[in-house]
Amino acid sequence: MDLRRSRLAVLLVAALVLLAIVESVNAITASLFAPSEKDWQAVASAVKAEFKEGDLVVAAPAWADPVMRLHMGDLLTPAIAARLDDDRFGRVWQVAQRGARTPEVRGTLAQSHRYGALTLERYDRKPAKVHFDFVAAWHRARVVRREPGRGELDCPRGTDRFACPNLGFNFVKPEILEIGHSLRQALYAQPVGGATVVIEFGEPELGSELVVAAGLHHVWFRKAGDGDVVLRVFIGGHERLVQKSDNASGWQRSRIDTADLAGTHVPVRFEITSERPFARHFGFAAEARSP
């Protein structure tokens, strides 16, 4: 073996040995670097001491969310945990580990503290003012099914939903849905073949934008069907948004500029259709806001 090759061989063996040592040490010590129960309890105490209504607590990485909720789930309602987005929250507490960050952390870093393997940070920003939450105010809607040649069939409101005539699956109700594997508080409305499901709100107060998010609920039904669902949004009778949801689109968010209508009360209508409605379980949420 010449000198160059023998040096190379020694280097390779040295690298192998070093890797073996690093990997072994890492395997033996890795659990020491995970957040402990004590770390989580310390963070929970710190957050609860300063938590105010309208705050949001998030975990980073997102997979730590169940552990965060175990310790601080009492600070979150189902509607907040399954929120449309985080724009309405003025203070966001991020409980992070391993240097992760969540998309929710925007604004000014107001405080930061380390608790063992966890880092607690609070970000302050100007919250969006919500003028009208279309999911929370679901009971104020009027729901009809529009069929060609039959006009509009009224869907009467019950205790937990609007139920349309003759079709058991044709209803509109607020529910926490699984859309693109994320959990969302939404209006659950399945499309009907050859018909339009119409959800109309008479006079909601508008802000400078209308944020709409939608997608297909239920992993098994996304597997079973392949049709698109189209959501049309009309403001004051004018079509302002056409959004298509398919198996891959997930929770899709759109903003409609309503600055010219801010502060006014204008009818908002959502129309849901699908050419292939088999196994299409659709959900959407909307908020009239001013950022």
Binding site: M1, S6, A9, V10, L12, V13, A15, L16, V17, L19, A20, I21, V22, E23, S24, N26, A27, I28, A30, S31, F33, A34, P35, P61, W63, A64, D65, P66, V67, R69, L70, G73, D74, L76, T77, P78, A81, A82, Q97, R98, A100, A117, E175, I176, L177, E178, H181, S182, L183, H218, V219, W220, K223
Partner: protein, 603 residues
């Protein structure tokens, strides 16, 4: 790395080492299996195993009473053998049933009504296992021990003793393999059979006796799991490559005895071993084959996406094609991977041995007198199973287990890398050692091998009992795997550590939602004495959560659906329990606020 020639004494020592490796592997598994919960499919196989044993018991009764024929009628067979058919053949399930009957200790009295068939005995013939589930699992653990021994034997065809031992250790010490090894399933056993068939074939290239043995071993492999269908294809690939010079001269090589034996003995043994087939051999074999050729794509998370259909877009197909390669890169201990790369380089650079013109290949000894192309042999054994999983239309729901027969061969290639590294070290550093260190030289190869085995062993021990959730140093461990969006688990086995807390907080209405933990697994936990009976089971699906006062979510990406139902129906997002590994949630449990609960653990 020339072929190793062995004296009779060497052979005796090797047999002893192989046996020791098998025993140590068995001890490692017996010492750890109790912490590993019962998987959904595993519980079905245990149930089927007990039923199959029932047929043998019934057959004995019928022989005694002179009604032997009734055991072989359609109903006499289907009553027992239609359980878990046409899903899997029955070699291992029969062994699981026999092992349970022989070795189970006194089962929990409360579990008496949880047997699939009426059973009156207090304990097995030789009651050495406290839990019946350990008795069911014992043959799988023996097969894992056999794997260690076989890997050592195969490695000895190419390597000295110390790296051959390393090969055996690296084969067992892979977290995902180790997870599957003790389970009363088929994935680890068929991995053993892949090495058994491969070893027999290799020897058969120069021995007609081994040619016949290859056929029999292949027949047994067919009875273990359908992965065995692929074994001849990989071996054909090697055989063609080995005879490529002849083929390029448009001359056909001899059809080897091993292949003839596989073709004859394989189907015969397959049909002979499976009583369910006997009723209608062609039709039922067809049903079995189609069951696997048309298998549903269950949900599986890979790189942050849920895969449950064959991808149709080209971008998705390409991403999906990376699955076996990325999964290997992120699950096999990194030192093992690097050693395998070194070993592969040395296999590629190996000089072909000179052909012996006086010894020509025949159909009985088709590898005699020519180079047996060991590089191609390991290439087809490692890359073959992975290549099958590269095809985007193949389901990937079992993760690494779908191409696990590649793992032991990868371990041998890694051991070749270790041996090559040692050779480099012994020709450069060792001769220059100071005199006072020279006396350590004889023990250096063993120390070097032990050092290279340490990361694999420590990673494997770290992963236990959640090997499916474990990812390697490149991925960043449990947390890294979760961040990358790699599958965390399947089969609902991971609930075991929560059973005690759940029993202490049983809903007064006895309405527990068990999510992915199926009824068969619950029955076995009860028989094991690890779960009190009477906790209730509301079944599966969203309504089962709505009808419950307590329930769990076993974390997989597609299971988020069920957490939505908990939030919506329980009106809380705060779990009662979260079971984690290094901070990563594995199972989350909820209690309905305001519902009454009782403690079932106190009399």
């Amino acid at each position: 790395m020339s072929t190793v020639l062995l004296t009779p004494r060497d052979r005796r020592i090797d047999r002893g080492i192989a046996a020791l490796l098998a025993v140590l592997t068995l001890c490692w598994l017996l010492g750890t299996e109790g912490k590993q919960g019962i998987g959904r499919d595993e519980a079905q196989y245990m149930r089927a195993a007990e039923r199959y044993w029932g047929w043998f018991a019934h057959l004995t009764d019928n022989i005694k009473s002179g009604h032997i024929r009734s055991s072989f009628t359609r109903s006499g067979l289907d009553t027992y053998w239609s359980d878990n058919a046409p899903d899997h053949p029955v070699v291992m399930k029969i062994l699981y049933g026999v092992s349970w009957r022989l070795f189970h200790g006194k089962e929990a009295e409360v579990g008496r009504s949880y047997h699939p068939l009426a059973y009156e005995l207090d304990h097995g013939t030789i009651p050495i296992f406290r839990r019946p589930t350990t008795a069911f699992r014992f043959p799988a653990m023996l097969m894992a021990g056999l794997l260690a021994a076989l890997v050592f034997c195969l490695a000895r065809e190419f390597l000295p003793r110390t790296p051959s031992v390393l090969a055996a250790v690296l084969a067992v010490a892979q977290p995902h393999y180790f997870f599957h090894a003790p389970l009363a399933c088929f994935d680890a056993p068929v991995t053993t059979m892949a090495v058994a068939v491969g070893l027999c074939y290799w020897k058969a290239l120069r021995s007609s006796r081994w040619g016949l043995i290859t056929g029999v071993v292949f027949g047994i492999a067919l009875g273990v799991k359908h992965n065995a269908w692929l074994m001849p294809i990989f071996l054909c690939g090697h055989y063609i490559w080995m005879h490529r010079a002849r083929l390029m001269r448009f001359r056909l090589p001899p059809i080897p005895l091993a292949f003839v034996a596989m073709l004859v003995a394989g189907p015969l043994l397959f049909v002979a071993h499976w009583p369910w087939i006997w009723v209608s051999p062609i039709a039922r074999t067809q049903i079995y084959v189609m069951r696997h050729l048309q298998h549903e794509h269950y949900n599986f998370e890979y790189l942050g996406r849920n895969w449950n259909l064959p991808p149709t877009e080209i971008g998705d197909q390409l991403l999906r094609a990376t699955f076996p390669w990325v999964s290997t890169a992120l699950t096999v201990p990194v030192t093992t991977l690097l050693l395998a790369v070194v070993g592969a380089v040395f296999l590629i650079r190996r000089r072909k041995s000179v052909s012996n013109p006086e010894s020509t290949p025949t159909w009985k000894t088709p590898g005699r007198g020519i180079d047996r192309a060991r590089g191609a042999y390991f290439a087809v054994q490692v890359l073959g199973p992975m290549a099958v999983l590269t095809v985007p239309s193949t389901p990937i729901f079992g993760g690494v287990k779908h191409f696990m027969p590649a793992a032991p061969y990868l371990a041998i290639v890694a051991a070749m890398g270790a041996h090559a590294a040692w050779l480099a070290l012994s020709t450069t550093v060792v001769p220059n050692l100071a005199a006072r260190w020279r006396r350590l030289v004889p023990s250096l190869p063993v120390a070097f091998a032990a050092l290279l085995a340490l990361p694999a062993v420590s990673e494997t021990q770290r992963s236990h009992p959640d090997g499916l959730s474990h990812y390697n140093l490149i991925a960043g461990g449990f947390a890294g795997g979760a961040t990358l969006g790699m599958n965390r688990q399947f089969w609902g086995y991971s609930v075991l550590p929560l059973l005690g807390s759940m029993a202490k907080n049983t809903p007064a209405r006895r309405n527990v939602y068990w999510h992915d933990v199926m009824g068969d697994a619950l029955n076995l936990y009860i028989r094991d004495g690890r779960l009190p009976p009477g906790m209730g089971n509301t079944g599966v699906g969203e309504d089962a959560i709505r009808n419950s006062d307590m329930g769990i979510i076993v974390h997989e990406l597609h299971m988020n659906l069920y957490e939505a139902v908990f939030w919506d129906n329980y009106r809380t997002v705060q779990p009662t329990w979260v079971r984690t590994r290094e901070g990563v949630p594995i199972v989350t449990g909820y209690k309905r606020p305001g519902a009454p609960f009782v403690d079932l653990t106190t009399p």
